[in-house]
Each structure stands twice: as structure tokens, then as C-alpha cells.
Amino acid sequence: MCATTLWVLLLGASSAAAHPFGPPPTALVSASGHQVVVEWGAPTDDALVVGMALGVLDDTSLERYLEGPVQVAPPAAKEAELSASAELVDYLLDRIVVTQDGRRCDASVAPIDSFLTDGARVIHQCPRPVTVVDLRIAMLHDVHDAYRTFAVTEGTGTPAQSVFTVERAEQRWDFTASPASGAAARPARRAWLVPVLATVLGLAGGALAWRRRSGQRS
């Protein structure tokens, strides 16, 4: 392999991660009384995309953040402008919606200190005490349909966690505070044991086989 080809391939290796694939946006969902609170947050690159899509941030913001050798975040003034913008509030209220008995709950956005760092908190005030509601999280689905938000319930709720994709942007969420629903949610959180054990056993088996073969050769 010639040196030029080597270097071309090597330089390419530093390119930024594909987008929107990578660390995803997340949402923490909690309910209490008449209220459902959704805390939506995203890695900086995805938060920048929101600002760009709303026209508040410059179109090159993402490129400057991802492509250069050093990550260049927007100036503090620009970030503050995004965090305080009416466009961002409208977008959040349009994309994060709670419906109770077919009626949309009133919603407001808590003051945002830094959208890029902390995300946003959307507070929904429903007419009746919250038990079963329909939750819609469609953040960034209008930008690219591969975007998905990983949501978890804080406190009691079923499901305990879910993923909001373009196809499943609206899901029924049950906040009934019964021990049964909490217990039902818990086994699902242990689902990680299966892949962990499988991978550990697979890696250990592979390493042993390799060592044995190496031992036989030497």
C-alpha cells in the first residue's frame, strides 16, 4: 500500500460521526397530580440541529462543531438567543404533546438556561389527575426520520422505558401508581443481563480457544 493511500485513509478516519446516528436525544417523563413533565435533552450536535432547523443558529453551526479538529460551539450570545427564543418554545410545544381522553393538555416550557447543555422541560397541565395519557415526542422527526428519543419514566409508570420513532411517535403511558405496574416494569429493566452474559461468555470462549491454539503452535 503506497504512503499516499495510507494517509488518505488515515485522515479520513478522523471524520465526524454520522448524523443522526450516535448518542440519541433522551426524555425523562414523570407525572404527579394533574401534571406530566417531560425533560428533553440531546447531545450538543442534535441540539445544534434544532437551532439550525429553527433558523436561530447559523447553517454552518453543526459543521463547525463536528468537522474541525477542535469542536467550535456557537458564541454564548447565540446560544442564549436560542434558549430564549419563541421559535424554540413553539417547536417544543408542537413536538412534545400529552393528550388525556383525546384532549390536549395545556403545556408550557420552563425557562431554559442553556438548551445546548441542559435541554428543556415541558410541563403539561391536564384537566384530570394523570393516570393513562397519550404521549407524543416527535423532536427532530421533521429534520430526519432516523431521529429517535429514548424515554424513561421517573417514578412509577408503564412502560418504564420506550423509544419514540417516526413510526411510533405517539404512545400510551400509564402512570397509575399501583404496585403491580411498578413490578411489571422492573423485569424489563433487567433485560440487559441476557446480552451481557452472552457477550462475556462469547468473548471468554473465543479468548480461551485462541490461547489454546496459540499454545499448541508454540
Binding site: 495510507l6 479520513g12 446516528f21 422505558q161 440487559w192 451481557v196
Partner: protein, 281 residues
């Protein structure tokens, strides 16, 4: 010799361009495999085959240390089975790495917004591993060159020396090869492919952990297959050059220093990756 080399370069460039152009589309479809409503046996089998194929194409895009692997195999006088081992270690490491990050998102969702800060840390680690392997290779090649020089001088003017400077260093079984292979494989698989990470995280969140892990493992096998093929092609090219060098003294001089140049390339590549990652920390 120019025709096959030219064809190889054209094919490689074409494959690289294709991989880069189609990667977003392929990754999107890879992630969608885990979103399917019903997963029967035929669908699962087809999905796994597709995942292997997407992993193969993914490996052709920039990343995963292809150049470093190629340079390492030349610099360490690698054998075909070394290329296979490297591919296997990358696949295992990649699957493990995706699993760890997917689980982190699953278990610590609140902290996940900071997960993008992890990528430079992993890149830094991968770069440091390459630096370690590269430094070891350069050290070994310099020793070999010194030995060769001493042997050549010795043939002209025999001299006595009782110090140990590695005349008995076996060229066929490199002392560095096993450690180097593992370190490079670990480095190549340390940084998870973003789409594989999303597949496993989605699988964990929607309760399809086993299917998700199988998809990621299949993707990693495809990734390893491409890396191994590139490694084997590199070794074939090296052997081709070596055979022609027997009749061509100028080429012989080039092939003589090729392992050293490759070793320096591995070291330089590691330093480059490390520097870029450090700047992004």
C-alpha cells in the same frame, strides 16, 4: 505490475466512494431492522444476513483503522492468519463496546446527553493503543535493521561481539505479534459504529435485547470480514512486491525498507489520531 496495482486502486477508491455515499442510507435501514413489529425466523435470518452486508460496507468507509492494520501487517511481517485474528478481535471488541455503551444509555439515561463527550475519550484511547503498537514495531524494525547491518558488515570483516543484540530474533514468529494484534484489534473496535449503538440501545429499550445483540454481532462479523479481506489483500500485495524484488534491485531496496516505513506509518497514524482526539476533549 502497474495494471493490477492501478486496478486495485481504482476498485478501492470506487468501493470507498460507494461506501461513503450509501452509508447513511444503509445505516438508516440497519437501525430500522430492530424497529420491525414482528420478528419471525425468516425475517430474523434475513435481517442477520443484511446486518453482515451492512457491516462489510460500513468497514469500507473511513475509520476502524484499516490503514493502520495494513501498515501493521506489513511492518510486522504478518501472515494471513494474523489478518484473520485481527478481524476477529475487532469484531469481538466492537460487539463488546457497543454493548457497554448501549447498556450505559439504558441504565443511566439521565446522563446520556453527555454521551457525545465519550467519543473523543474513546478515540484518545484507541490512538494511544496505536501509538504503543507503532512504537513497538518501530523499535523492533530498528533492531532488525541494525542486526542486518551488523551481519552484512560481519560478512565483509568478521568481528567478535558477545553482547546480546537479538540475532536470534525470529522473523517468522514476531514477539510483538500477539500483543500487537490484540491491541490493534481492540483499538479498531473500541469506538462503536453509531448505528450499531442505536440498534442495541433500541433493542434494550423495547425488550428485544437478544435480537439486538445478534444484529450487532452480525454487523461486527461483516465489519471484521472486510477488515480481514483488506489485510489479506495487503499481504498479497506485499508478497507480490517481494517476488518481483528478487529480479529488481531498486525494488528490493524499496521492499527492504517497507516494513520500517510501515512501522513509522503506524506510529504516525497513532499520534495523529491521539492528537485529534486530545484536541476534541
Amino acid at each position: 505490475m502497474e495494471a493490477p496495482v492501478g486496478a486495485a486502486v481504482v476498485i478501492s477508491a470506487g468501493a470507498l466512494a460507494l461506501a461513503q455515499a450509501e452509508l447513511g442510507w444503509l445505516e438508516e435501514h440497519f437501525v430500522r431492522l430492530i424497529d420491525a413489529d414482528r420478528v419471525g425466523l425468516p425475517f430474523a435470518a434475513l435481517a442477520l444476513a443484511v446486518a453482515v452486508g451492512i457491516g462489510m460496507v460500513h468497514a469500507l468507509a473511513p475509520g476502524h483503522g484499516k490503514a493502520v492494520i495494513a501498515a501493521y501487517l506489513v511492518g510486522s511481517r504478518g501472515r494471513p492468519r494474523d489478518a484473520l485474528t485481527l478481524g476477529g478481535v475487532v469484531a469481538a471488541m466492537h460487539t463488546g463496546s457497543v454493548l457497554v455503551l448501549g447498556l450505559s444509555l439504558y441504565l443511566f439515561t439521565r446522563a446520556a446527553a453527555g454521551a457525545d463527550r465519550l467519543a473523543p475519550v474513546l478515540s484518545l484511547l484507541a490512538g494511544l493503543l496505536i501509538v504503543a503498537v507503532g512504537a513497538g514495531l518501530v523499535h523492533r524494525q530498528v533492531r532488525l535493521h541494525r542486526c542486518a547491518h551488523v551481519r552484512t558488515s560481519g560478512e565483509r570483516a568478521p568481528h567478535h561481539h558477545d553482547h546480546d543484540h537479538g540475532h536470534d530474533l525470529p522473523e517468522e514468529v514476531s514477539p510483538l505479534s500477539r500483543r500487537g494484534l490484540v491491541l490493534l484489534g481492540v483499538s479498531g473496535g473500541l469506538l462503536p459504529s453509531p448505528s450499531a449503538f442505536l440498534v442495541l440501545a433500541t433493542a434494550l429499550f423495547v425488550g428485544r435485547a437478544a435480537f439486538g445483540l445478534l444484529l450487532v454481532a452480525a454487523f461486527s462479523v461483516g465489519l471484521a470480514a472486510s477488515l480481514t479481506a483488506i489485510g489479506l489483500a495487503t499481504l498479497r500485495g506485499r508478497d507480490l512486491l517481494a517476488r518481483r524484488a528478487v529480479r529488481n534491485p531498486r525494488l528490493a531496496r524499496v521492499t527492504g525498507v517497507l516494513p520500517l516505513v510501515s512501522a513509522v506509518a503506524v506510529l504516525a497514524g497513532g499520534l495523529w489520531v491521539t492528537t485529534l482526539a486530545a484536541l476534541r476533549l
